[in-house]
């Protein structure tokens, strides 16, 4: 079986029509579904948060069968993810796409669990600490995309679980938990 790093690729990755956007509706629906699953799967295992449409993305080309997804196809598959709430465009030009293999709500729950597990119920942490501190090492929060983290924290703030306060620069934004 073909592999991409340590990611196991399915058999149909070598099926040339998989890389051509299919015009027939039923076939296309199935193709889009398979691509969505593969993109989410790959991003989850490889901890990829952002896909740039114009950049090289290992999943979007197959050197074995010499096929590459067209820009149109890439946009179609990512748009399908967006319509399901599993991705978001980061810019109006649709060049960068944020992949949410966990939805924002799920990320928020992961943060809460992290806080509870570490006994931070009433502590203060910087945002950077959550992303790359010793405590988060080995959890899914380690290396999380800043945009996603901020969105999840804001959601928790709305629910009254914490308060975000600003420091002098963007780097030292802090969080006061009150779970």
């Amino acid at each position: 079986m073909q592999k991409l790093g340590d990611f196991k690729l399915p058999h149909f990755f070598n099926y040339p029509p998989y890389f051509t956007l299919q015009p027939v509706r039923e076939t296309r629906e199935k193709q889009v579904q398979l691509w969505k699953e593969l993109i989410l799967d790959y991003c989850r295992t490889q901890k990829i948060f952002v896909i740039g449409l114009e950049e090289e993305f290992p999943l979007f080309s197959n050197s074995v069968i010499e096929r590459t997804l067209s820009h149109e196809a890439r946009e179609a598959f990512l748009s399908a993810l967006i319509s399901e709430g599993r991705a978001e465009w980061l810019d109006k030009g649709h060049r960068r796409c944020l992949i949410l293999w966990h939805r924002i709500q799920d990320w928020a729950d992961i943060i809460l669990n992290f806080v509870k597990d570490n006994g931070f119920e009433d502590s203060v942490m910087t945002v950077e600490e959550i992303r790359s501190g010793i405590e988060s090492r080995g959890t899914e929060l380690h290396g999380i995309d800043r945009t996603i983290l901020m969105r999840a924290l804001k959601l928790l703030e709305q629910k009254g679980k914490l308060a975000i306060f600003k420091g002098t620069s963007a780097d030292d934004e802090g969080v006061k938990f009150s779970v």
Binding site: H11, N14, P16, P17, K30, L34, E66
Partner: protein, 458 residues
């Protein structure tokens, strides 16, 4: 009583079968034919009246086809045509055409083909037939043409030319068997290849003359048209007899050119094309029927489906003169829906239009395509329209249409790459999205993986 008229043969699409060198001149729709004393036959109601150089044909309209069949009145049997009287009364009537026909002693319409005595002897009795034109046809025009055709006595020319060509071929064979350098009439008999060449030369010279004469003016062309067809026919017969008597002398090249010539002459085509002039308002209807008859042979050759453009070219070539416009062609084809003809016009999603047999089934084509794409080689690298064209024995453009149709049915899916446009068997429905790594032990997906893995693509 019902078989007062001799029966006229019609094709399966409802066009009359014409005699040798018979040409259609004019058509009128919704015509009744009745006799004044009405006891010879049941009146023929509301049919299509066709005037040819030899006959008057009455075809029932499709709705009433069960009650009466097509009837023919040989112009030969007509003894008098009455001129129409313009009166006040006639303005309120449907226009009528009256003519007198000879009746044989057994109470049937006089038929020259049956050979029941000479016309003067047996035609002792005659009755007057009236054609009542209920449609909006050009009645005066029809009458004029009727006069013309009747006076031209085309049936007599036919008899003489028929016997002439018969005796011609007879002498041809007799001279071939009898020896001697001189033929019976004293001229130097032409022998061997040189003879054939000289004969052909002579023929060409006379053809050239005919052509020059013919193009003098259009009227001359019209009258020469029949001669031209006869000439072509004669040349074909000459060529045929020539090739049979020349076995050793003729070389391959000679034979090749002869065959080509024969093909060419055979494709001289439709003797009586339906024209706007002759058919008037019925033009498209009649054209449609003629086209349906015509396309059957090319269709058969092309495997049940032919590109509309190809059919158009073939049809116009067969017509020779009196070419039709693409628009007329399209209209004629779209009228097929209304008639009971064995062919139909089909439009593919891509806009390509084809003529196909009604019996032609996509399922059969799909089955063949499926057989094609499940071969190991095709599983690995797909098929292109030209691959399919070779296997299916059709034109690449048609093959592509078939493949696209198969794709839209979910049988195939496409692969567009720098290598070109290829089609693969559709594996998408086989893949389980919940477990993309699962491979069933059976099914096309498994076959595909095996085919791909044997090629070392892993």
């Amino acid at each position: 009583m019902a078989d007062f008229f001799s029966k006229a043969e019609v094709t399966s699409s409802g066009r009359p079968v014409l005699l040798r060198s018979e040409v259609e001149c004019h058509l009128l729709s919704s015509v009744d034919i009745e006799s004044e004393d009405n006891h010879h036959f049941y009146p023929l109601k509301s049919g299509l009246l066709i005037l040819t150089t030899h006959r008057l044909l009455w075809l029932p309209s499709s709705s009433s086809s069960s009650t009466s069949s097509a009837a023919a009145i040989p112009l030969h049997a007509i003894s008098h045509i009455f001129s129409t009287k313009k009166s006040l009364k006639s303005m309120f009537h449907s226009p009528r055409i009256r003519f007198q026909v000879l009746v044989s002693p057994d109470g049937r319409l006089f038929d020259p083909a049956s050979g029941s005595g000479s016309s003067s002897g047996s035609g002792s009795k005659s009755i007057v037939l009236t054609a009542v034109v209920r449609g909006k046809g050009d009645c005066d025009g029809f009458l004029g043409k009727l006069w013309e055709s009747w006076r031209a006595r085309a049936w007599e020319c036919n008899e003489t030319s028929g016997s002439g060509s018969g005796s011609g071929s007879g002498t041809g064979t007799s001279t071939a068997t009898s020896g001697g350098l001189y033929s019976s009439d004293g001229s130097v008999r032409m022998v061997g290849v040189a003879g054939i060449l000289r004969k052909e030369q002579e023929m060409w010279e006379s053809t050239d003359k005919s052509l020059q004469d013919a193009f003098q003016d259009l009227n001359a062309l019209m009258s020469k048209a029949k001669e031209m067809v006869m000439l072509a026919e004669k040349m074909r017969q000459k060529l045929l007899s020539g090739s049979s008597s020349q076995t050793s002398g003729a070389n391959d090249e000679d034979m090749g050119s002869k065959e080509e010539m024969q093909d060419w002459l055979l494709s001289v085509g439709i003797i009586s094309p339906v024209t706007k002039e002759s058919a008037g308002a019925l033009y498209h209807q009649q054209l449609s029927r003629q086209l349906a008859d015509f396309v059957r042979t090319p269709l058969q050759r092309a495997g049940g489906m032919i590109n509309l453009i190809d059919a158009y070219c073939l049809f116009n070539r067969a017509r020779g003169t009196e070419l039709i416009s693409p628009d007329d062609m399209l209209q004629a084809c779209s009228l097929w829906e209304k008639f009971d003809v064995p062919v139909m016009l089909r439009k593919f999603d891509s806009g390509v239009m084809v003529i196909q047999n009604k019996s032609h089934s996509d399922e059969e084509v799909f089955a063949r395509i499926k057989g094609l794409v499940t071969k190991p080689e095709a599983l690995r690298s797909g098929i292109s329209p030209s691959d399919a064209a070779i296997t299916l024995g059709i034109a690449p453009a048609m093959a592509k249409e078939h493949l696209l149709t198969a794709e839209s049915k979910g049988l195939l899916c496409r692969d567009i790459s720098p290598d070109g446009f290829r089609f693969y068997i559709n594996l998408f429905p086989e893949i389980d999205p919940r477990d993309v790594y699962l491979v069933k032990d059976y099914g096309i997906c498994n076959t595909w993986i095996k085919a791909v893995s044997t090629s070392g693509l892993k």
